[in-house]
Symmetry: C2
Subunit: 253 residues, 2 copies
């Protein structure tokens, strides 16, 4: 895939750290609202749900913004993290697909407050075209190139069904979009230089199910989760290639 090769980016902020900065930012804004002026790494780490040493190391990648013996000044740290993440400028976002999820995204307040501006809503369904969502009108997907020629778009959000996701992605890339957030349950192929992040609701549930199953089977009934007549971890022989299956067929809607 075309993700960054080296995990550590050019100036040296690890991806793992970048992924946590928004969490720190959220915790800090909450603290600021409650009137805190300074905060120690210990307290902020607790608020963000991480180890305090990790927090300090993360912040040290941005620079030396704390004061030993005191802590970090909340507003100043908010500013520094925001700047590092690029939230001091505003980013134009286009949302493709305004079904349930697209609606939720278009109305999500957490975007606007962090410099993300939804500048275009697109959908393939004629019935949805013309609909007004939060002051923005839904355009038809066929106008994608036209809309993006008029309005600069930095980030494309794909909230279409899986079937159409790759086509939409290709068209976004062709229009010069280099950052894509994909909610469709599909693996997108993109050229180098384009970054795709994926959010998959069902994958998270499946991971939870795995751990839940482990808890349950660990307590008592190891073998019951397996099919009758088959050992728990199924070291039964693989089926012959042309043979009849003796295991249940998985179905996919």
């Amino acid at each position: 895939m075309s993700a960054v090769r080296t995990n550590r980016t050019v100036r040296g902020i690890p991806d793992a750290t970048v992924a946590r900065l928004p969490v720190y930012l959220r915790a800090l804004t909450g603290l600021a609202d409650r009137g805190a002026r300074t905060i120690s790494s210990e307290e902020l780490a607790a608020a963000a749900g991480v180890n305090s040493a990790k927090l300090r190391k993360d912040l040290s990648y941005l620079g030396s913004y704390g004061t030993r013996g005191v802590g970090y000044e909340v507003e100043y740290l908010i500013y520094q993290i925001s700047r590092e993440l690029g939230l001091t400028q505003d980013w134009a976002v286009a949302i493709i697909g305004v079904g349930n999820l697209g609606h939720a995204l278009a109305n999500y307040g957490g975007f606007a407050s962090r410099g993300f501006r939804v500048v275009a809503l697109l959908d393939a369904d004629e019935n949805r075209v013309g609909e007004d969502i939060g002051g923005r009108v839904v355009r038809h997907i066929d106008d994608l190139e036209h809309v993006l020629a008029v309005e600069r778009v930095d980030i494309g959000v794909i909230a279409t069904p899986a079937a159409g996701a790759q086509a939409v992605c290709d068209r976004l890339v062709a229009c010069g979009v280099t950052s894509i957030l994909n909610f469709a349950p599909a693996v997108l192929a993109v050229p180098d230089g384009v970054e795709v992040r994926k959010v998959d609701l069902s994958i998270e549930l499946q991971i939870l199910a795995f751990h839940e199953q482990r808890k349950a089977s660990g307590s008592a009934l190891t073998a019951l989760t397996a099919v009758a007549g088959r050992a728990a971890h199924s070291d039964a022989p693989k089926p012959a290639l042309a043979g009849e299956t003796d295991y249940p067929q998985a179905v996919e809607a």
Copy 2:
């Protein structure tokens, strides 16, 4: 936090592997629909967007389910992964908060096809109580304990505003729910033995913004993203603790 201490779980499937199994599963079901009977690790890896050695090692944690010189039988592998993830049994899911996002989740087709059954919808808004979503009626949040006493719930999905998330979480945990998927932008504190996974729409966008900013500033205008009069990486002195700030204050809605 109360996440699993050791990354490698008891029988030995790494968390990183577990997180990828659903991706493989999706790729496999797609292949099965197109009529593929067997597939090599190279092809499946391409479809799933991972390195083929990684794929083989991941699958080897489940057992030795391939055939050298041939590859993996698609249906058989689907069954094995499904069983490992616990998708051969069905899981009862409760969704708390049926705003835009909750609606999207309640209507999401990807759940039902993988053994996830939405058994309860709850909301704090009286106007939403009684509404019918996909054949299920929205109940009031005050009835949470009552609903969960009648209906077993394995996984709780929190799609409320951030302010109410912790309270809802506490009540779910009190009712015996040990797996929680949190969409609210808040860090949840839970006792040991309860697993929380978090999906945050705005964090993903912020990570994209970071990389997009890096691309842009790398090309030419390193200093322009910084505030006028302040160096790009801002090694300007920290503000005095009681002094006036000379940097823009971040605002939070």
